[in-house]
Amino acid sequence: MPRSMTYRDALREALREELIRDERIFLLGEDIEDPFGGTYKVTQGLTEEFGHDRVRNTPISEIAITGVALGAAMTGMRPVAELMYVDFAGCAMDQIMNQIAKMRYMSGGQVEAPLVIRTQQGTGRSSAAQHAQSLEAMFAHIPGLKVAMPVTPYDAKGMLKAAIRDPDPVIFLEHKLLYNTTGEVPEEDYVVPLGVADVKRVGTDVTIVATSRMVLHALDAAEILAKDGISVEVVDPRSIVPLDQETIFDSLRKTHRLMVVHEAVERNGWGAELCALVMDHCFDELDAPVKRIASKNTPVPFAPVLENFVVPSVEEIVAGVKDLLV
């Protein structure tokens, strides 16, 4: 029976079930132990059940968190590391981009690095320039990293399980504004494979490909546009590496109009990659240029009015879709 639960609880349930399933799995990160239970409380209660060995606080040491996770992964464990904010990956970038991403390749396939780096990103809480970025394109640019971006509790749980069971490193990007959102989650064990997009709303006039929290914005916009008789299809790639191109292209072949929406800044964002892929594979299907809606090219400002201003809004998406149909 599906139950309604929050995104946070769905993530915790995935961690809990995986910790039970496989004793090689352990969690490490800053402040994840009880009673604190993680800055966003995803790991709350898990220390009590699994002990300090398997749910392990680290010092404030992002290099150590990621490097230790890698060393453990190469030698028989399956660590799930937490970086409190994606922005802090900056401190750990050598381990992430030079070590974790490349270990299997550099070793000529001798070793695997089955680890997950869970972190959260995004705006919406006036967290300002160093706690609110969306950095998926930076990770996706580096061969050797898978990048997951679930939006619903169902996807969050199923994709986290897939990430933990994956033989290779996965950057698992949660969104800070999604933790309290709710959705249905089955009771039985299930996995949402990485690289399988989900059509979150079926439509015929325009395809919106959106990631993470922007999927919710796209769905809100689709609802508004429906009142004007415009039928929008919303495709959520769920992971951008690996990317389910076919589901996106199939949708485009039906609607012939494409918008891509993400919360990361527009410049060199993932949307640009999608535009290029569409040019390569589906140019003839396009009845209009692809429209990108993304954050303005600034660091994230602090003041709520400014933060709102730089991040894509539902209204912007509605207006953009109308432009596409002119």
Binding site: I63, G67, G71, P79, D94, S107
Partner: protein, 324 residues
């Protein structure tokens, strides 16, 4: 040089053999590199053989080891096959990493070699993770991380010592203090003489060895590893030694006083010192020692032939091991 423990003659000769193997591997690889036969960069570990062999002789094949860009010696000392190493330097498919790693990324899963590393201090947290894994899996494995004095200025070094200390991990941090961080002499890159003092900041034990004296390194490592296996937490070991060549092969090392390398080569040659010790104590005679050098010279030239005769990787190899 002093040997306070019982070491069989066979073991002594094995240690000297490995030191010779390293020296000759480096000398011959350097020659081939300068002839343009070996691509990429090379970082020679000549002068540091006693540290590599002395440390690795004190750990087992199941124990983990990670090294640096100057890692050929450590790989040889941990049991690496010089044919596969040389082939990797040549970028051949028979190399340890099928030609995808090169000199700076040699690794060998079966020998517990987690890899050389192109990033200074990059391997230290990884080794620390291997030690955590050993501890969580309940084995008595230890992990050894080699790095230089330059790496001890990196955040990765400090974060690793700190986390290993609080988790009481069985990791031996081995700083080969060769007194230069690339071109920068130690006095200009850190305001200390002994890197070992940095252990105090993390409340862990440290030990300093003469990195040109294999008996000193070996005996001190044995003691340290015994402590690690008892679960007493990490140890920082500092082996004082000297990099005979420049930072990379081809570096004229103009930043060093002219007489400095000569002094070390003449009076502190780890191989000469050990050979002298074996002869003085009548453990081996000069004939036996010459035979070792001869045998190892042949072994390395055979490795060169193996590498030369090996195939380049098929171009499809470039796309293998790519999962994302």
């Amino acid at each position: 040089m002093e040997c306070k423990i019982k070491i069989e003659k066979g073991k002594h000769l094995e240690l000297l053999t490995l030191m010779n193997r390293i020296r000759l591997f480096e000398q011959i690889a350097e020659e081939l590199f300068l002839h343009g036969e070996v691509p990429g960069f090379l970082h020679s570990s000549i002068g540091q053989e006693a540290s590599a062999v002395g440390v690795c002789a004190a750990i087992g094949i199941d124990d983990y080891m990670a090294t640096t860009h100057r890692g050929h010696g450590h790989v040889v000392a941990k049991g690496g096959d010089v044919n596969r190493m040389m082939a990797e330097l040549y970028g051949k498919v028979t190399g340890y990493c099928r030609g995808k790693g090169g000199s700076m990324h040699i690794s060998c899963r079966e020998l517990g070699i987690l890899g050389a590393n192109g990033i200074v201090a990059g391997g230290i947290p990884i080794t620390t993770g291997a030690a955590l894994s050993a501890k969580m899996r309940g084995t008595d494995q230890v992990a050894v991380s080699f790095f230089g004095d330059g790496a001890s200025d990196e955040g990765a070094f400090h974060e690793s010592l700190n986390i290993a200390s609080i988790y009481k991990l069985p990791v031996l941090f081995v700083c080969e203090n060769n007194h230069y961080a690339e071109s920068n002499p130690q006095a200009k890159h850190q305001n200390i003489k002994d890197v070992a003092v940095r252990a105090k900041a993390y409340n862990i034990d440290s030990v300093i060895a003469d990195g040109t004296d294999i008996m000193d390194v070996y005996q001190k490592t044995l003691t340290a590893v015994e402590q690690l296996r008892k679960g007493n937490g990490p140890i920082l070991m500092e082996n004082k030694c000297y990099r005979w060549s420049g930072h990379y092969v081809g570096d004229p090392a103009v930043y060093r006083p002219k007489d400095e390398p000569l002094e070390w080569k003449t009076n502190r040659d780890p191989i000469k010192l050990y050979a002298g010790f074996l002869m003085e104590n009548k453990i081996a005679d000069s004939k036996e020692l010459e035979a070792i050098t001869e045998q190892e010279t042949k072994r390395i030239w055979d490795a060169v032939e193996f590498a030369r005769n090996s195939d380049d990787p098929d171009l499809t190899v470039a796309m293998e091991d790519v999962y994302a």
